[in-house]
């Protein structure tokens, strides 16, 4: 699968994370996965801000959505590392 790839910094020193969208977010934005280049000290909050500024319909994603990093629930200000998988989760509705 070829993923959309967005750069948010011009610097050489960036990290790349994989961003995944689910449920109504994936539906509305028309994308399920994309790579994001971020500053090395970026948090999930920065990643969300980048998504919100770059993707159409991304205002559907709240500023502090539920997130998971590398398939574990994470805090909204968690620090990201190069290669992380960041999932933006709509409100959970399992069961």
């Amino acid at each position: 699968m070829r993923l959309p790839h967005y750069r948010t910094t011009a610097s050489q020193s960036t990290i790349t994370i994989r961003c995944r969208l689910f449920g109504r977010y994936a539906d509305a934005l028309g994308v399920e996965a994309l790579d994001l280049d971020l500053a090395p000290d970026a948090s999930t909050r920065d990643a969300v801000a980048a998504l919100r500024s770059q993707l159409e319909n991304a205002e559907l994603i709240p500023e502090r959505p539920l997130v998971a990093i590398n398939q574990r629930h994470a805090l909204p200000d968690a620090r990201l590392r190069d290669g992380d998988e960041l999932a933006i989760l709509p409100p959970l509705a399992g069961g």
Binding site: G23, Q71, P90, P91, L92, A93, G95
Partner: protein, 148 residues
Amino acid sequence: MEHVTSEAIVVSDLLSHVSAVERGAVVLFLGTVRRSAEDGPVRGIDYSAYVEMAKGEFGRIVQEAGLRWPEARFAAQHRIGHVPVGEPSIAVAAGAPHRAEAFAACRFVIEEAKKRLPVWKKELLDDGRARWREDRQRDSAPPRSPCS
């Protein structure tokens, strides 16, 4: 037994997984797709999931339950894809030596699953429309494991 499946849940498989001669109590919970005045004309639900994470998270929930109730054994499945009204979308079975533990352990697993599994539902209505259904808060605080 896979924690996330796209096939119909087979109750007897869960029951036999948790049954043994030293466990005299088994409690099973089934959550089925509901249709009621309160829910509207729902003919089914399309469940989608962050599958890899949902499997891992359900596994962690069962593991935490095993630390709390060391003599208990668990089986837990969430079905994804289309689930018609009346059929189970989630099943949790807990077998334990005595019934108090079996009830508590089963309840623990389903409550945690509801809070923590990355699963979403789109209701399919009689008229062909579909709508996302969210019954939980839109809060950004991550669901916390009670043991971490």
